[in-house]
Each structure stands twice: as C-alpha cells, then as structure tokens.
C-alpha cells in the first residue's frame, strides 16, 4: 500500500508537470493577445498587486466569501512555504522563518476551508439561483481533509519528521525508501496527491488575466476620452 503511494506520487507529480508545461505550450501556440486596453501604465501594477494579494475583485462581489477565500489563500501559501523545509537539506534560513506562521496557518487553513464549504452549502440551500460547481466542492473537501490530517499530524498523531524528510529527499533523488510508518501521514500524503492531481488551472492563469484586467480598468477611461481619438 505504502509502496503504491510512492509510485502514485511519482505519477501524480509527473502528470502535474506535464499538465503545466502543456498548458504553457498551448498558450504559446495561440494567437497574440488582442489589445483590449490602449494604455496601462503604473496604476495597473498597483491594481494587480491588490488583485492578487488581497483578492480585491472578490471583495467587490462577495465580502462574506472573500473573508474565507482570502484567509484560505493566505494560509495555503504559508503552509506551502513551511512545507518546503522538507524538500531541502539544509533548509534555507527563510524556510524556517516561515514555520511559526505555518503553525498559525495550520489552524486557519482548515477553519477557512470549513467556512467556505459551509458558506456554499448554506447559500445553495437558501439563496435562490445560487450555483456552485461540483468540482469546487470536491476540491475544497479534499483540501479540508488534507489540512485536517496535517493538523492532526501536529497535534496527537505526531510522526517521525526526520524519517518523513528522509523519505521525501530520497524520493526527490529517485532512490525511494520505505514509506514512514504512520497511517495519519499516509492519509495526509494521499490527500495531498489528490489535491495536486486536481489542482485548478486558475492558479497559473488568474495572475496573468488580472494583469490585463488592471490595464483594462485603467485604460477604459482613455478609450474615448483622449484627443488623439
């Protein structure tokens, strides 16, 4: 079973990178972007930072959902960075600096995911015409379970972290060793693989589409309000 997880990890990660590379190839292959904004100077850069870092556009449409989504995205980034210490030896100094924040994120990540799930379920039940995609619900559920198992690994089901790190580093070097002897880690690892295999494409493309959105927002005032026409 645990050997199967190791094999699955190789397959999932390989497919993930293939998917990403193929995605970039398709974008490259497509025609040049049409010009939707005539201008766009420095304001759009500020807008882009606000869009990506604060999810500014979601604040405008749904503040209640934004609270959950922003905490979730911020927590996920922190958890990601705090996990990097398992992938490097010796771990760079700044990875260990992320660990205290990662500890906070270990609480806020499952809490925010639970909030998002409940928000959507309540909206589905009570708001006429509310729609949510099955894919989003399943992905959120997988992330929630993954974060919960991560939380349990820290509180109550502690596993041998040195062994985990060795397993990961040897795996990265393509000389895998036996899976760490921890059912909770196995569950956490398997759920993480589910998340990686279902990772949404917007994590790569949304930051790019937001660049054009900011330019457009800045440039629409110029479209018919300049002397050159």
């Amino acid at each position: 079973m645990t050997n199967a997880l190791t094999a699955a990890a190789y397959i999932v990660v390989a497919l993930f990178f293939l998917k990403v590379i193929w995605r970039f190839f398709l974008w490259h292959e497509a025609g040049d972007a049409e010009q939707t904004a005539r201008r766009g100077t420095h304001v759009f850069v500020a807008l882009w930072f606000l869009d990506v870092l604060l999810l500014r556009r979601l604040i405008a449409t749904n503040v209640l959902l934004w609270i959950g989504e922003w905490v979730f995205h911020a927590s996920l980034v922190l958890v990601f960075f705090s996990h990097l210490r398992f992938f490097f030896h010796p771990a760079p100094e700044f990875f260990t600096l992320a660990v205290p924040l990662g500890k906070v994120a270990a609480y806020t990540l499952p809490a925010s995911l639970a909030y998002i799930l409940i928000f959507r379920l309540v909206a589905l039940a009570f708001v006429r015409g509310y729609f949510t995609s099955t894919y989003n619900m399943l992905l959120t559920a997988a992330l929630l379970l993954s974060s919960l198992t991560g939380y349990l690994l820290r509180h109550g089901y502690r596993t041998d972290l040195i062994r985990v790190k060795e397993y990961i580093l040897r795996g990265l070097a393509f000389s895998p060793i036996g899976f760490p002897d921890s059912a909770m880690f196995a569950a956490h690892f398997a759920l993480a693989l589910v998340v990686v295999s279902a990772v949404p494409t917007h994590i790569f493309s949304a930051p790019l589409t937001l660049i054009d959105a900011g330019r457009r927002e800045e440039g629409i005032g110029e479209l018919m309000h300049n002397d050159e026409g």
């Binding site: 293939l18 974008w27 556009r57 979601l58 989003n136 949304a206 589409t209 054009d212």
Partner: protein, 400 residues
C-alpha cells in the same frame, strides 16, 4: 486560423488563459440578466466555460494531440451553442469576475468558434450576412428607406466636412426618434457635418461581429472608413453604443491600422457644446428622469458621465439612478443579437428595466441606445407597468 480539430482556432492567447482562469466561483450569476429571468445555471458563464473546457480537453489536451481527439457529444455541443447565443453579451459577468475575465470579448470569440464549426449562429442571425450583402443592413430593408422617413428636411448635410455623423442601422430603421434627435442636436451645435449617402452608410459590422460571422467585416469597415476619408472627416460621431464600440475597438483591427479619424459618442459632443455655450437648453423640465446605461457604452467604452452631464444641464430635472448603474448597469435584454432569437428572455429583462424605473418614481426613462430603445418599448407593450421612454438626444432636441 488553425485547423478544425482544435477549439482554440478563434481564441487569442489571453482568451485561452481566461478559459483556464475561471475559478467556477459563480459570483457572476448574481449580475447575469439571463440568470435573473431564467434561473437556469446551465446557460450561466461558469457553465459555458466548463463546457468549453471539455471541448478543449477532447481536442487540445496532450492526450488528444498524441492519441487523437476524444469524443464530444452532439448534445453537449448543442447545449453549449444555445448557451453562448442565449447570452446578451452585456459583459456584467466580466465586470464582476474575481479574476478579471473580459467576457465582453470572450463570448463573441466563443460564438465565432461555433460559427467556424458550422454550429452557430442561431435562427434569423444566420440571415444577417446575406441581408447585409444585399442591402447594407441586417434588417434587409432598402437603402432608400434608411434616412428618408425620419431625416428632418430643414437640416442640411455638407458634402465634405471634418465632422461626420453615422446613424447606424438600428437607429435608422428601428429607433427613428433617436437618430432624428441626434441630427437636430448636431444642427443646433452648428458646426456643420457630413453623412454618407444611404447606400454608402452600410452596417458598422457589429451584429456580424457579435454573432461570430466575420467574413464580411473587413470589406464593410474598409468601405466605411474610405467613404469618410474621401469627405475629409476628422471626427466621426455616432449615438449607437454598439456601433461606437465596434468603431473604437474593432474597426482598427479590420481596417489594418489606426483609423484616420477619431470616434466620438454624441453625448460627448453634446456635453462639450453645452459647456462651451454653443448649445443652450431653453426649456425647463420639471421631471424625475432615470438614465439607463447601455452595456456597450458604459462597460464597453467607458462613457457614463457625459449622458448624465447632458441631463443635469436641463433646468428642473431631478436625475435618479438605477441600483446597478454605470459600469454595473443591467442589460435591457436586447444585447448580443439575442433579442429576436430569445425574445421571451429579452422581454423579461426589458421589463426589469421598466419595473425598477417605475419603483424609483421616475417620470421618464431615458435611454441612449437604439437596441435598448426598441427592446424596452417592445417589452412595455403588454406590460402592466408603464413609463414614458425617451432617447437622450430626442429629449435634448425638444428642449433646445
């Protein structure tokens, strides 16, 4: 254009990224006018994107390229085509998209892809190219009826002028009080203007563009641009938001470079004239007016304040606002060439515009788009709620 095995043939790189960027959050459903009247999520923006992703997966995934395209059910293709043509292309979804997808441009691109595959357009939209080829307008009406039924006899049009006026097909054939108002306001400004003769003032291309039928566009655009250039035009004025949008955003693409003249909306010209004193409002109007922002004027080209400036310049007027105004305005139902095909939706959406105006206590609903003018009047015909509907230039022409 890439080959037929791919669904990316009509999409730009940015649009392909936008298809990937949709988070399926469904926040756009709250502002989608079609959703408001149908409540059917299967024709919603995220569902359209999800279906299109299925097509891309079947034809453009690595697996499809290596081992051949996967099967796409005809039912899914038909559902998608219906959904993408049922949309009014108002762009409210994009305005409220948390990842900034420019749906105002994406939906027409997806429609173009469906045309490329022989699945679109729907119903009478398919007759537009032939009608345009034969008569110069999508309504298949004779060119000699384009101006004569409404053009004021007393207005003289110059042979050549730096200023030109383009009436547009919908205004000329279906919203005549509006274009008559435009011409009277231009005469009152007094700068002198030219127009193309009726047989030369052909469709701007917008209906063909928006339904994904691009074959005639280059010819139409070049013909119009060259016509204005011959008359020495430096500024082209138009009141139809769809035409203005097409001229500003797409004419340069089909013309092959920057236009040799600038495009102005009539409300810009009118407000400038009011501010400079060339135009004076002589009659007071003790009324509460509510102004409806046309999608292609507000979200399309960013003109929201000039029409309000014109209305505020009328003494006695109290200007009311829709809850969703300016870039957030709700479509009147006429957009996207869907009004003749999905007439029930369009009428129901149009009635929402009437109802809110009545609920706000407006005496008069002010429009500035011929498609809105036609649709909202049509929607009111058998509706229990009534309000006086006037085009902004029609009103101004009465008061100057």
């Amino acid at each position: 254009m890439r080959d037929r095995d791919t669904f990316t043939g009509s999409l730009s790189r940015k649009q392909l990224m936008e298809i990937d960027a949709c988070t399926q959050c469904a926040e756009c459903l709250k502002c989608c006018p079609v959703q408001q009247v149908t409540g059917n999520p299967s024709v919603s923006p995220p569902e359209k994107i999800r279906m299109f992703r299925e097509f891309l997966k079947a034809t453009d995934s690595l697996k499809a390229r290596l081992f051949g395209p996967g099967h796409i059910s005809n039912l899914l293709l038909e559902e998608f085509t219906k959904a993408v043509y049922e949309c009014t292309t108002c762009g409210a979804c994009g305005e409220n998209c948390p990842v900034g997808i420019h749906t105002h441009r994406l939906w027409p691109a997806l429609r173009r892809e469906m045309v490329r595959r022989g699945l679109g357009p729907i119903g009478p939209q398919a007759l537009m190219p032939e009608a345009t080829r034969a008569t110069g307008n999508i309504y298949n009406l004779p060119a000699d009826e384009r101006f004569s039924p409404w053009f004021p006899q007393e207005v003289k049009v110059a042979e050549n002028s730096e200023l030109a006026y383009y009436a547009g097909c919908t205004g000329a054939y279906e919203a005549r009080p509006m274009v008559r108002g435009d011409v009277l306001v231009l005469r009152a400004i007094g700068d002198g203007f030219t127009m193309l003769p009726p047989e030369e003032e052909v469709c701007c291309g917008f209906p063909l563009f928006i339904t994904g039928q691009h074959d005639l566009l280059e010819g139409l655009v070049k013909r119009l641009v060259e016509g204005y250039v011959k008359r020495g035009v430096r500024t082209l004025i138009c009141s139809c938001p769809c035409c203005v949008n097409m001229m500003t955003r797409d004419w340069p693409l089909f013309y092959g470079g920057p236009l040799p003249f600038r495009i102005r909306h009539i409300s810009q010209a009118a407000l400038e004239a009011l501010q400079s004193g060339k135009l004076k409002v002589r009659t007071e109007l003790e009324e509460r007016l509510i102004y409806h922002d046309p999608c292609y004027l507000s979200r399309g080209v960013g003109i929201t304040e000039e029409p309000r400036g014109v209305l505020r310049s009328i003494p006695g007027v109290e200007l009311l606002e829709y809850d969703n105004n300016r870039a957030q305005s709700r479509c009147c139902g006429a957009g996207g060439a869907a009004r003749k095909v999905f007439s029930e939706n369009a009428t129901a959406i149009g009635r929402l515009t009437i109802d809110e105006a009545v609920e706000k206590g407006a005496d008069r609903l002010i429009l500035s788009c011929p498609a809105c003018y036609g649709k909202v009047n049509e929607a009111m015909a058998d509706h229990e709620r009534k309000i006086r509907i006037t085009d902004i230039m029609e009103l101004l022409a009465e008061l100057i």
